[in-house]
Each structure stands twice: as C-alpha cells, then as structure tokens.
C-alpha cells in the first residue's frame, strides 16, 4: 500500500514537475511600444501604440487566424442571406466584461451606433457606410445581432472585427473625454492595470476569459523611444520582443529571429492631374529607371522584395501576371524621347521620420539623375503631408509622393483606385479607369473567394499597364523574440502572437540572465525536497 501511495505521489510530482518545467504561471511578458498611448479605445484611436494595447484588452465579433482567415471570436457563428444583404451573427453566451457584467448583443449595437454617430470623432465611421448609405444594426435577441447592408459587400467582415465597447459603462457619456479611455474595460484575455506616462502600460491576466485563462500572468508594455534603443534592450533582456532593423538582423544570443512578409508596400505615386505626368510613357520611363535591387540592397540589406503590383504576395488575391517595369535605363531614355520630353524636373514629397523612405528617396534621386531627370526632395511632417495629398481640391498641390499602403486583410482597394474617390478619398493621385471601376464594384459584390481572385487579377493587370504608381518594395517584417518566450504562432502576416492567451514564459532559469535574478531562486525541484 505504502509503495502505491509513494509511486502515485511520485507520478503527480513528475506531472507537476513537467508542467513547471514548461511554463511559469507568474510569467510576465515584456513588450515595447514606440511611443505614448493616446486613447485606449478602439473606435477612437488611430495610432499603432494604442491598438497594441487594445488588441489584448478588447475583442470583436471575429478575429484573424495565422493564415488571415476570419474565425469566430465573440460571435460563435455567422451567416449571410442569399441576397448578400443580411449578416446574422450568433454570439457566445459565456462572455463577461472585465468588471464582471455579462456581454450581450446590446453592447455590439451600442458600439456600432456610437461609431456612426456624427458627433463622435471616430475615424472608422466611413467603414460602415457603403456608397454613402449606413449599415443598420439590429438586436434580434440577447445573443443575436444582425447587420443590414444597403448593398452586398463581401469586405464587411473586416469591419466586423472592431473591438466591442461596454454599453453599461459608456452609454450617455461623452466618449472623447471619458475616464474610460485611460482605464479601459473590455472582453479580452487581459485586463488593464495601469498606465504610467513615459514609462509603461501594465495589463494582467483575465482568468474568466472565454478563450481560456491566459498562461501569462501579466504583460508590461514598456515605452522605448527608438528602434536602436529597443534593439539594445532586446539584447540585454530588458524587453522580450521588438522589431529589428534590417542592418542588425543577424544572430543574437538568447534571441530567436523571425522573418516574414507583411501586407505592406511602398510606392512612388504620380499626381496624374499634373501635366508633367499625364503621358503614360513618362510614367513608364521613370518606372524603368528604378533599380530596385540597388534600393533594396542599400536600404534593407536585402530584407525586402521588389514590388510590381498593388497587392502583396502574401494575400490570397495576389497575381503575378502584371506589367513589370524591370530596370532598363536605356528603355527609360527611349520612352522619354518618344514622349517628347527633353528635360524633366519634379519634387517628391516624403514624410519626416521614416528613415527607409528618406534613404529610398535619396537613392531614387540618383537613379533618375542617370536618365537626365532632376528630382527634388521635400520633407514634410506626416500631418502636413497628409494635408497636401488629402486636400479637397483639383488639381492637388504636389508632383509626386513617396508613401506606403498597409493593404489590410481584404483585397478590396476601392478607396484607393476608384475614380469616385478623388479628390475626397484615398485615390489622391486622381486615377480614372472605367474598366477598373467596374472590376472594383464587381469584387465587392462577388461573394466567393475564387470569383473575387479572378476579378482582382484582371484589375491588377489593368492598373499596372497605366503605371500610376511606381511600385517599389514589399518590406519584410523582422522580429526578435527572446528564447524564454513560448507559445508563438507560426511567423506570418498576422504576427507572432496571434493567440496571446497561449503565449507563455518558459520557467527554465537558463532562458534569461536578468530574469533569473528577478525571480529569485525558484527551483522546480522544491517539492521533491519536502518528500
């Protein structure tokens, strides 16, 4: 009998030991933020630092998996009516807000109604209007909500991922000034604890999280001013993860490196309403003059891919069948001559603070010089640049701009390429091609992925023929994560911590010198001694 008890105890011990060896239940993950948080409210914030925090505190009806497919989150299922106009979402019944109150369809309706309220300064408002008509939300019952669209619109699911706000805390309050924005309450895996300006934001485990209690006890987001400092902090173990500049992307002790493609591209956009660029041959000539290999080599040390189309290769809609203007300065000069252009001088606008674009612009300047074109560079503050390209006038006050698009999960790029989106939308170059307009509309109506892919492939072919942009590069995302962090997702455009609740800190003391000292001498074999 005694032997049985002892062996059972030993068994339990081993099981306990193996878990202890796996993850530290008091694990604290240290992430970095590039700047201060503005407001921790998903419908108001516009910066990436705030959305990093919102990402762990709030959840939406749907979320993305590592392959960028939409999967259930607060909504456990959904379906679309045959005519594509009514989306019905069935919600989970076991969700609680961080203050313990239950989550219901009323919260969802409240959130979307608030976004669409013209008195609220939400920049997301436009996402819920299709051709100027609003999407209507209806509560069918406590756990069912419907979205009624004015037209069939397949990209709608993206907007359905918006973080949901608690009605019981915010109804009737002035949203812009609310105490809530600095002390958020959500439905996500982590609860807000504190925000010390200039220093850090701290969140802690939500044990009631409907996706399962997170393995991490806390996450601390440290405010680290610039990427060089962040890199040093990663090396010393002061932070657990950060982006790594291309020039520093080589093996680092104690750190796992990850490289993956992102849904971004950088381009040079021509003001098509300017007489300088109205001839397509001029635009094509400049495209031929660009040596992407040299650009990517100097700016990214090779950690980027050359871009020839408005769709990132990682997207399911990508098509390689486009007009590529590969480096050929001879052809460039010939085209200019054909267009009757002997000298060309123009000014390129870039935004201050983006080192890669600044370098890229300088290199382009030299490359254009080789074909006899003089390009001046003008650096503007980000907000000033946006003011110029978004001004509601025709023609706009610029020649060309070096800027990027984060393409988003859905390939629908209506606001960028549709002729109606000028001068008031994102089509600030003034592109007008009736074929493309038709294809954009069709892409939104079509509900099957296969059908949409065909439509967009045609569209990319049309667009690149016109060379309205010089597509430059798709940057790689380069990240380093310290060895002590486990539970990461496969590297992909959705990032490394797709399921943050599954991330954990390994409890082996060999993983990080700094944190061994911090935790004292937590030994795994403690219970063994007692026996």
């Amino acid at each position: 009998m005694k032997i049985l008890v002892k062996s059972l105890l030993l068994l339990f011990l081993l099981i306990g030991f193996s878990f202890a060896a796996d993850y530290d239940p008091n694990g604290r993950l240290i992430l970095s933020l590039g700047g201060e948080v503005s407001v921790m409210n998903p419908i108001l914030s516009t910066d990436t630092t705030s959305s990093a925090i919102e990402g762990v505190i709030f959840t939406g009806l749907v979320k993305l998996d590592k392959n960028l497919n939409f999967v259930p989150d607060l909504a456990k299922s959904w379906k679309v009516s045959k005519n594509g106009l009514v989306w019905t979402f069935k919600l989970r019944k076991d969700v609680k807000w961080h203050d313990g109150k239950p989550f219901t369809a009323d919260d969802v309706k409240f959130t979307f109604d608030t976004i669409m309220n013209p008195k609220i300064n939400s920049v997301r408002r436009g996402d819920y209007f299709i051709d100027g008509k609003p999407i209507k939300f209806k509560v069918k019952d406590k756990y069912t909500i419907q979205a009624i669209l004015p037209k069939p619109f397949s990209p709608f699911l993206v907007s359905a991922g918006m973080g949901i706000l608690p009605k019981h805390l915010l109804a009737g309050k002035e949203l812009d000034m609310a105490y809530f924005n600095n002390h958020p309450i959500g439905t996500g895996p982590f609860k807000f604890v504190e925000y010390k300006t200039g220093d850090h934001v701290l969140v802690s485990r939500n044990p009631e999280y409907y996706g399962g209690a997170p393995l991490l006890k806390e996450i601390i987001f440290k405010i680290v001013p610039d990427e060089n400092t962040a890199l040093i902090a990663l090396k010393t173990g002061e932070i657990d993860s950060t982006g790594i500049p291309a020039k520093d992307f080589h093996p680092i002790k104690g750190v796992n490196l990850f490289k993956y493609d992102a849904l971004l591209y950088t381009y040079l956009g021509f003001n098509l309403k300017s007489p300088k660029f109205s001839d397509v041959r001029v635009r094509q000539a400049l495209s031929y003059a660009v040596n992407r290999k040299q650009l990517i080599g100097l700016v990214f040390r090779g950690y980027a891919s050359p871009a020839y189309s408005p769709c990132a290769p990682v997207s399911w809609a990508y098509s390689g069948d486009v007009s590529k203007y590969e480096y050929d300065p001879g052809k460039a000069k010939k085209l200019l001559k054909e267009a009757g252009v002997n000298t060309l001088e123009f000014t390129l606008l870039i935004n201050h603070g983006n080192k890669e674009r600044e370098k890229g612009a300088t290199i382009l300047q030299q490359q254009f010089k080789k074909i006899g074109v003089k390009m001046n560079i003008r650096v503007l503050e980000w907000s000033s640049l946006l003011k110029v390209i978004n001004a509601r006038k025709d023609p706009k006050d610029y020649d060309a701009v070096l800027i990027g698009w984060s393409t988003g999960v859905d390939p629908d790029a209506y606001s960028i390429w549709h002729s109606s989106q000028y001068p008031g939308g994102l089509n600030f170059i003034g592109y007008k091609n009736p074929k493309v307009d038709k294809l954009l509309d069709a892409g939104r109506r079509e509900q099957t992925k296969v059908g949409r892919k065909k439509i967009y492939a045609q569209m990319y072919k049309e667009i690149t023929k016109d060379a309205p942009y010089i597509f430059l590069w798709y940057p790689n995302v380069l990240t380093g994560v310290r060895n002590r962090v486990g539970g990461l997702s496969e590297p992909g455009p959705a990032g490394l911590m797709v399921d943050i609740e599954k991330v954990y800190i390994k409890s082996s003391p060999l993983s990080s010198p700094l944190h061994e000292m911090e935790r004292g001498t937590a030994k795994q074999g403690g219970e063994e001694d007692k026996l």
Binding site: E227, K359, I363, L380
Partner: protein, 268 residues
C-alpha cells in the same frame, strides 16, 4: 603679441584651411557628395579615406561640402545677430533713459528663454531648411552683443569727440554710425568670433535632431543624425563629423580668445 600666441596661430590656420575647403569644395572633394558609389557601408580605405556612409556615399566629400554648409550657416547667423545686436545695443546705449529701459527689458525677456528649446519651438512652427536656420539662430543670439554694444555706447557717448561732433551739428544717426561705432569694434569682433563658434554648435544640434539643414544636403550635424543607427557597425560615420565640429569650434575659440587678449591689454 598675437604672433607669439601659439594657440591663436593654430586656430587661424585651421580656419583658413576650412574656409578654403568650403569655398573650393568642387575642386577639392574627390567625389560627388550625393553619388552612391558602393552598395554597402565601407570603412576607411585608400579609395575612401573616411569610409562611406550607409548609402554608399564618400564621407570625405560629404565632410567637405558639409563644412561649406555648416560654416556658411555660422557666418550668416552671426551676421544677423550682429546686425540686430549692434542696432539694438546702439540705440539703447546712445539714447538712454526710457528707451534704454524698454530695450533692456526686452533683452532680459529674450534671455529668460532656454535658447535651444526656443529655437526648437520656432522650428516646429516652420518647415526647417538652411535659410530659416540661419535666421532663427541669429534672431536668438543677438542679446549678448546688444549688451556689449550698449555698454560701449554708454561709456563712449560722454567723451570729447562726441561732444565735438554734436557741437558742429552732426545728427544722432551720423554720430552713432560714423563716430561711436567705429570705436567699439574690438569687443564686437571678439563677440562675433565667439558667436560663430556657438552658431556652429547650435546648427549641428538642430540638424542632428532633424530640425536644421535637411538631407540630402549634407551638414556636419545631419551626418551625425544618420550615424546614430550605425554607431557600432560604422563608428567612423559618427566620429569624423564630430571631430571636424570640435576642430572648427576650437579654432574659433582660440582665435577669439587671442583677439580678446590683444585688444584688451588690461585683461588676462
């Protein structure tokens, strides 16, 4: 006296050298400062004496052209400061009384601002470029000169030659510019030299922060801004422009100090 001062001579030689480099940059610089010559950063070699920067451009050529930029900013900024300072100080010192009080109050106000932050604040309102840098530096560093000139005027205006000039009916303006001013050159020259040293330091700090001379136009300060990301990988990008700044400023200090000693015999 000046000839014996070794530091003065050293400073003067460096200044002349830098001025020649600045004026004849096109002939002296080995390569085009904007030309991308290599596909990666290279350290100092026979081809590139100071190595290349992160865009494959020759550092030595950039230093030479950058020197032209930094020095011309210093010269123009000091010219602005001198103009303002002399005018303001002369009027305050010559007319005295309420005018003097008001002007000195204004000078005190300007002196109460933390200069570098005031300049940053002003630059945040403008779009920084080489021209407004010159003006802004000048517009925030005239105060010391104004005080100096005022002091000179206060003491000189009671002298006989001024009395004499008044007696024969010279207008105030004439007295200020033709009689008193020419006699107050010495401290002003010294102040100007020291002012140039300060202007080089201020411009380089501004350009380093990105609020001064904008790339791709090279200045010693913005070359240092670019060097930050490559501190470990390419330390020459950071060390060399800094050394040139130190040399230029040091030379100006030696020359200024030498002038001060020789023009003010009772000092030391």
């Amino acid at each position: 006296m000046l000839r014996k001062n070794k530091l003065f001579i050293f400073g003067l030689i460096i200044l002349i050298l830098f001025s020649l480099l600045a004026v004849f940059a096109q002939f002296i610089a080995p390569y085009d400062p904007a030309g991308i010559m290599e596909n990666e950063i290279q350290g100092p070699s026979l081809r590139h004496i100071f190595g290349t920067d992160d865009l494959g451009r020759d550092v030595l050529s950039r230093i030479i052209y950058g020197g032209r930029v930094s020095l011309s900013v210093a010269v123009v900024a000091v010219a602005v400061a001198l103009t303002l300072g002399i005018l303001i100080g002369a009027i305050a010192g010559y007319f005295g009384g309420l005018i003097d009080e008001l002007i000195m109050r204004f000078t005190d106000i300007m002196l109460s601002f933390p200069t570098i932050f005031l300049i940053l604040a002003i630059q945040s309102v403008l779009t920084p470029n080489i021209y407004n840098v010159m003006i802004v530096i000048g517009a925030t560093s005239w105060m010391g000169i104004a005080r100096l000139v005022r002091g000179e005027f206060l003491s000189l205006k009671e002298r006989e030659f001024v009395e004499a000039a008044r007696a024969i009916g010279c207008s105030d303006l004439r007295i200020i510019f033709r009689h008193i001013l020419p006699n107050s050159w010495p401290p002003v020259i010294v102040a100007g030299t020291l002012g140039m040293a300060g202007a080089i330091l201020t411009e380089s700090a501004l350009s380093f922060l990105g609020l001064g001379v904008q790339p791709p136009m090279p200045s010693w300060g913005n070359m240092l801004m670019d060097s930050q990301a490559y501190l470990l990988d390419a330390p020459w990008m950071a060390v060399i422009p800094g050394l040139f700044i130190v040399l230029a400023v040091l030379s100006l200090y030696f020359v200024g100090e030498g002038l001060r000693q020789s023009l003010n015999p009772k000092e030391r």
